[in-house]
Structures are given as structure tokens and as C-alpha cells.
């Protein structure tokens, strides 16, 4: 056990936990931020994606010990009430079915659009390698990303 200072959604937290504990469980079990989801535990599905220093990162394989002083943004910190353009695009294109993995997809999109204002389908596909959706919403995710890129 060790103490770590984390900045999550612009708030500072001191966490005392196993240094190897993945960020996913810090968020879900210690900070009660359950919008970030557990899907595979090995970085293969992307349900747990969050932003660390603006980079889309799989929180299920990111140990707590690596996070000091790096700003972390989860779905709860993306907007106060779903007004972020990516969230709005997700609603406009009716992306979610069960919705479980969608917060990870949204965070991955935020990071993608931050680097690439107008990604092509091929660039979207590359950014979404190993971001899995069992409900099969892929076509709508692509549409929503274009929708958000075009400013809604």
C-alpha cells in the first residue's frame, strides 16, 4: 500500500492503495466513478478508456503508480450534462444499444478528434482497433465521429 495524489476530472484525490491497482478499479471502487467500464481486464476491448494527459488510455491495464500528476478525465468529467459535442453526436446518431461500452468509445473519440479534426473512415478504424462492441454499433460510431467532426 502506498499513497498517491491523483487529479481526476479536475479534482485532487489522495489514494492509498496497491501501486499495481489499475486505474479502472481506483475509479470504480475507490472514487465511485462507475461510468468507466470493465470489459476484459487486459486492454483488448476499450470499455475502460479514459483520458490521461489527453491521451486515450485503457484504464484496466494502467497501474495507479504511473499516474502521479497526470490529469485524468473520465466520462463524468467530460461535461456537466452530456453537452460535449461527442456525446451530442452519439445521441444524434442513436449510437448506443445496451450502451455499456459506449463511454469508452466516447472517450476514445474525444482523444481522436483532439489530434485529428476530420478523421477518415480508415483513421477511425485504426483508432478503434480492439475497441469492441458486442451490440454491433460500429457503423453508427463512425457516423457519430464524422457528425462530431463536422461540428454537429
Amino acid at each position: 500500500m502506498a499513497k498517491f495524489n491523483l487529479t481526476v476530472n479536475s479534482s485532487a484525490f489522495t489514494i492509498e492503495a496497491d501501486p499495481n491497482m489499475p486505474l479502472l478499479w481506483v475509479l470504480r471502487d475507490l472514487l465511485n466513478l462507475t461510468g468507466t467500464k470493465f470489459g476484459c481486464g487486459v486492454g483488448l476491448c476499450g470499455a475502460c478508456a479514459v483520458l490521461i494527459d489527453g491521451e486515450a488510455t485503457r484504464s484496466c491495464i494502467t497501474p495507479l503508480s504511473t499516474l502521479a500528476d497526470k490529469p485524468i478525465t473520465t466520462i463524468e468529467g467530460l461535461s456537466t450534462d452530456g453537452e460535449h459535442k461527442v456525446q451530442q453526436a452519439w445521441l444524434a446518431e442513436a449510437v448506443p444499444q445496451c450502451g455499456y461500452c459506449q463511454t469508452g468509445k466516447i472517450m476514445n473519440t474525444v482523444a481522436l478528434l483532439d489530434k485529428n479534426l476530420h478523421p477518415t473512415d480508415a483513421e477511425i478504424d485504426a483508432a478503434f482497433e480492439n475497441h469492441l462492441c458486442r451490440c454491433g454499433t460500429y457503423l453508427r460510431i463512425r457516423r457519430a465521429i464524422h457528425h462530431a467532426a463536422e461540428g454537429g
Binding site: 500500500m1 492503495a17 496497491d18 491497482m21 489499475p22 478499479w25 470504480r28 471502487d29 475507490l30 465511485n32 466513478l33 462507475t34 461510468g35 468507466t36 467500464k37 470493465f38 470489459g39 476484459c40 481486464g41 487486459v42 483488448l44 476491448c45 470499455a47 473520465t74 466520462i75 463524468e76 467530460l78 461535461s79 450534462d81 452530456g82 456525446q87 452519439w90 445521441l91 442513436a94 448506443p96 444499444q97 445496451c98 450502451g99 455499456y100 461500452c101 459506449q102 463511454t103 466516447i106 477511425i124 478504424d125 485504426a126 478503434f128 482497433e129 480492439n130 469492441l132 462492441c133 458486442r134 451490440c135 454491433g136 454499433t137 460500429y138 457503423l139 453508427r140 460510431i141 463512425r142
Partner: protein, 700 residues
Amino acid sequence: MSPLLTRRDFIKVSFTAGGALLIGAYLDACAPEMISVPTITPTPTTTPTPRLVFEPNLFIRIAQDESVTLIIHRSEMGQGVRTSLAMILAEELEADWANIRVEQMDAQAQLNQITSGSGSITINYAPLREAGAMARAILINAAAQTWNVPVEECKADQGKIVHAASGKKLSYGELVGIAKDLKLDTTAQLKDPKDFKLIGTSVPRIDGKDIVTGKAIYGLDVRLPGMLFATVARSPVLGGKLIDYDSTQAESAAGVRKVIKISNGVAVVAENTWAAIQGRAALKVNWDEGSLASLSSESIRQKLVDKINSVVAQESSTPLTTVEAIYETPFLAHATMELVNCVADVRSDHCDIWAPTQNPQDVQSFVRNRLKLPINVHVTLLGGGFGRKLEVDYPLEAAEISQAMSAPIQIVWTRDDDIQHDFYRQITYHWLKAGWDADGNLQLWRHFIAAPGINGIAYHAGRDVVEEGLGVLYKISNNLPQPFLVNTPVPTGPWRGVLSTPNAFANECFIDEVAATLKKDPYEFRMGMLDETNPLRAVLELAASKANWGSSLPQGHGHGIGCQIYHGSIVAMIAEASVQNGAVRVHKVVCTIDCGRVINPDMVAQQIEGSIVFGLTSMFNEITYEQGRVQQSNFHDYPLLQMREMPEVEVYIVPNERDPQGLGEMGVPPIVPAVANAIFDATGIRIRRTPVRPEDLQTR
């Protein structure tokens, strides 16, 4: 003219403590759906037994703040049931959609809330309309009484009752506030469907905003004060029994509270999920591997082969020219993105369960039988179900651990647990034979399938489930579909599309083989065996037209057809596929569907897109057993379709005003044969088994 409502004891009205109008209705069509055999008539329902006590199973709450709340008795797992059931109610009630709210109903011991068999809309469409019409009549009566005008002069519109002659209006919320003597009106009439304003429109999902903001609460998101987290070490070998375990290291791991023996293995209870996972990894467990330690999926397959060979040997010979083929499919896992999980809080005199479940009554009864306590089951959102969450294994584990710990517990399954301890889609083995006369008229059809039934804890099915979708869709004089049940110790369960999927694969590919042998166009060949009155004609015709069947495709691409009739819906797909660098590439899928009256067209498209992905995934993965152990464990060896593999999809609805039919599973059966037939068209290679292996794609 719309039919009159006839059942006077169908509905009861009362006020809640907060002054809201509570309407309780009895949905008489709440019959067990189970898995229905494919049919193009609506799913049969049973007549309710007469009840002396009125037990409403549907609740509508109309509050003074104008909110109209439907207590949803089915599980939302992505199919949009909360939205579409609420739409049906709002339509007849003439409610303002902006004021519609939904709440999830807890398990009611006397009801059937099971969400399976693509049946939620089919079964609840008529009763919900009737309840909405009754509620509307109550409000109209209340307004007419208030204004002292004839009832006939009042009408409901957008959450208000309007008296046109005087221009008076009262909103539903206002009416609830002033109404004193609420009367039932048994002359209430259903709306004429041509007046529908909401049904038939693409209303956005009612949970959408909660989902995109991360506020939606799935089972795994339930948090209770003092809740502990648990993992379970289960026997890696099917049917293995615990001998003993050493928990020294596990219990010394940070955050681990206790290691306990439960009926299903060894549970590690901890302060957080990570500690529970780490603690389990540090456990040393000895298992008695038992009698299934040498079980392999190959040995199970061999039993299916032996069964088929023994029955085929008895087939008499025919003067017709014949072809035969074998088709086969493997065990498959559900792999819901939300892993199965459950929170249980067992107290001395009762137990509360929060579960992402498709089957609240069985959760309640199985846990009650285990604990001998009253059980309350709270149904959360489901992060995917596909049939997996019809089972009761995970609530039983949670309840047992909570009772032992005297604390609320969340049982967490890892992906390895999920892939290796599922109730799998059954393995199947099919023999088909077709025969034709000298003029090339198809006159003989045999489709024998050998497969296990469903042998879960709560969910069982036998020959009926093997027979699902087995009948060929075309008119062939000497046609004999035969299911053979071959049981297996492998746990099996309903899996989106169930055996309609492998049966459609075999039928629709083999008909394609026959067409190719007879040098006939696969579309014309099928159409030639559909009577003018067959509803598949219009569906397949539209698919061919939208897919430009017969037009030239890019070099190396092929077109393939797949059709199925399932849960009352009629579906056709035309896939365009190629084989590139030894891998199948599906470029485009055109789907046409007649699913009766459509409640929400965009949700039809969503379900078809989703089932295409589900079916395509099934073409490239499998669950296998060796030494009694499942060989796969996570998405590296049980891969799901990736975004880059996603074909373009077009969905077209064939209009039909019969009542709504099943939808959630409809797209899974036709996609596999459509793609397999497209591969043949592109390459001349026949795909007769899934998963499709690299060697199956070698050019001849």
C-alpha cells in the same frame, strides 16, 4: 372501427400517497414465451386462469407534475424495450412523449417478466394499447365530469383533455389534481392505427442521455454502503469438485477480507475488485477433476456424427438425382460486454438482489430456495444479455457469499470466468440431401440435425430447441426435417438466434448448392419454389432489387442470399463478400424484413445491424474443450468483430400491418448463409462449417 374493449376487471385506479394517479392493469398476455418454433403467426398466448384477487402486473403513474411513468416489466439490454413499450402506451394514452418516464419493475413473484425469444413487443403490444386506451378514457371521463359536458365532446391530445366547443383544456397533471371520482369506461376504444403519431416513428432511446453521460446504472455499477467485492475460483474442469485449498497467501493480500468455501468453489471477498482478483490469483486450490477430465469438444462432435450416421443409414434410396452435404457449427459463448455480476444483501429475515437479469422470477425462486428467505430482486440495466442473463448461477453465488459474510456483496466475474463458465450455444451437426427429377425439379429434401438441448440451471429445452428454424422455407414435395437430441455435459443456454442460426446456415447454403449444381440462379431458384401467397416472396424480391442482384460486382466479389422466418418475422439478406489475403471480407449487407407493424423503425435498423455483427462474429470463433477445460479465455482467442471488419449495412422494412413480430434475434440466422453463399459466388469455395478456417478458404 376499432374493437371495443371488453374486459371490465382489466384495470384498477387509485391514488398514491403523493397524489398521483396510479393505474394498475392486468396484462393477460404475460404467458411464458420460452423459445418459440418459427412461425409466421403471432406468438401464441395462453388464456389467463380466472383470478379472485385483482393482481395488476402493469402500472402507469400519472403525477401532478405531468409525468407519466410506465413501470417496465421487461429487461432492457440494448433492444430498446423501455423505449418501445413506453411508445405503445403513450400512443394510446395520447401522452406528451416529453413527459414519459420509465422505471424498472422489481421481480413480482406471480408474474412472468422473462425477456427472451424476441417476444417483449409481440406479447405486450395489445395489452399495453388496451391499458393506454383505458387510462385515456379515465382522464376523459374526469374532464367531462369536471366541466359537466358530455364525454363524447372531449378528446385527448398531447397530454391534455380538450373540450373543443368551449375551448377548455386540462392537462393530465391538472386532472389528476382535481379528479375525485374516477370512473372506468368500458366503451373505451383503441385508436385506429392510421391515427398513430408515435408508433412508427424513430423516437430516440429513452436511456440515451444516461448512457452517454456514464450515469446509466448497470448491475456492475450498483454500490451499497459497506459492500464488499468477491471473485470465485471455480473448477477449471467441467464438473470438478473442490478437494481443499490453501488461502494463506490470498488472505494476506492487501484488501482481502476473507476466503470462504461456497458450493461452486472458493470465494475471495475483498474491499475492492482488484484485491478480489489478486487474492484469487494467490489461491492454491486442489480440484478433483472428476469423470469429465477427458472430455473434448471433438468427442462430443463425434457423438453427433455417430447419431447422424446411424439415422442416415436407414434412409431409403430414391430414383432421383441427389446431392448430400454435411454442415456443422461449434459451441459459442455469449460474451456480453457487461460481465455477469450481481449484488446480494442477505439479512436475517430477507435478501435484496440487484442483478442484470433477463429472468427476475427465476432469480427470485432459485435464491429463495437456496436461502429459505423472502427475496427482493431489483433489475438493473443489462450491458448486453443475448440469453446469458437468463441463467441464475451468478445471483446464487452472490447470495451465498453475502449470507456467509453477513455483508452486501458484489460478485464480479472476469472475462476468463465469463468465457470459460458460460452456458454455451450448442454445437450442431447437420446432414442434408436433396433430390430432383430429370427436369431439374427439386422433389426431395432431408435436413437432419444432431445437437444438444439446453441444460442450464434455470433454463431447459429439448428437441424443440434443436428443431428451431429447421424447416426449409421453400415448397418441396418430399420434405423431411428431423431433429435428433444428443445430450452433452457441457452447460448450454439460449444464445441470440439459438439454433435457428445453424439451421438457416445449413438450409440456405444447401439450397444454394443445389441451385449451383442445377446451374440455376440462386434467387430465381428460390423464388420458383415460393407460392404467390408466400410472404417471403415480397421480402426476398425487395432484397434482390435493393442489392441489384444479378448486376456485375467488383472483381473477386460475390453475392449471396440468406433467408429465415423466425419469431413471426420474415428476413432476407444479400451479402457482398470477397476473400482477400486468405481472409473473408464482407463489404455490404442488404437486409429486408417484414416484422409486422413497426414500433420504431430506427430500432429495427439497430437490431439488424447488431445481429449482423453478432452473426458475423459467430463465423470466426468457437468454444472448444480439451481435457474437460474450455480452451478460450478472452478476446485474443474469442475475438469479436472489429470496426474495420464492419460491412456497410442497409435495412429496408417491408410494410405490413399485422401486429408487431419478433425482432431482436432476426438478423442473426440469415447473415451466416448470406456470407457463405457470397464466398461461393466470389471464389467457388463452399463454406460448410463454422468457424471458417484459413484452410477452408484455399482456392481449389
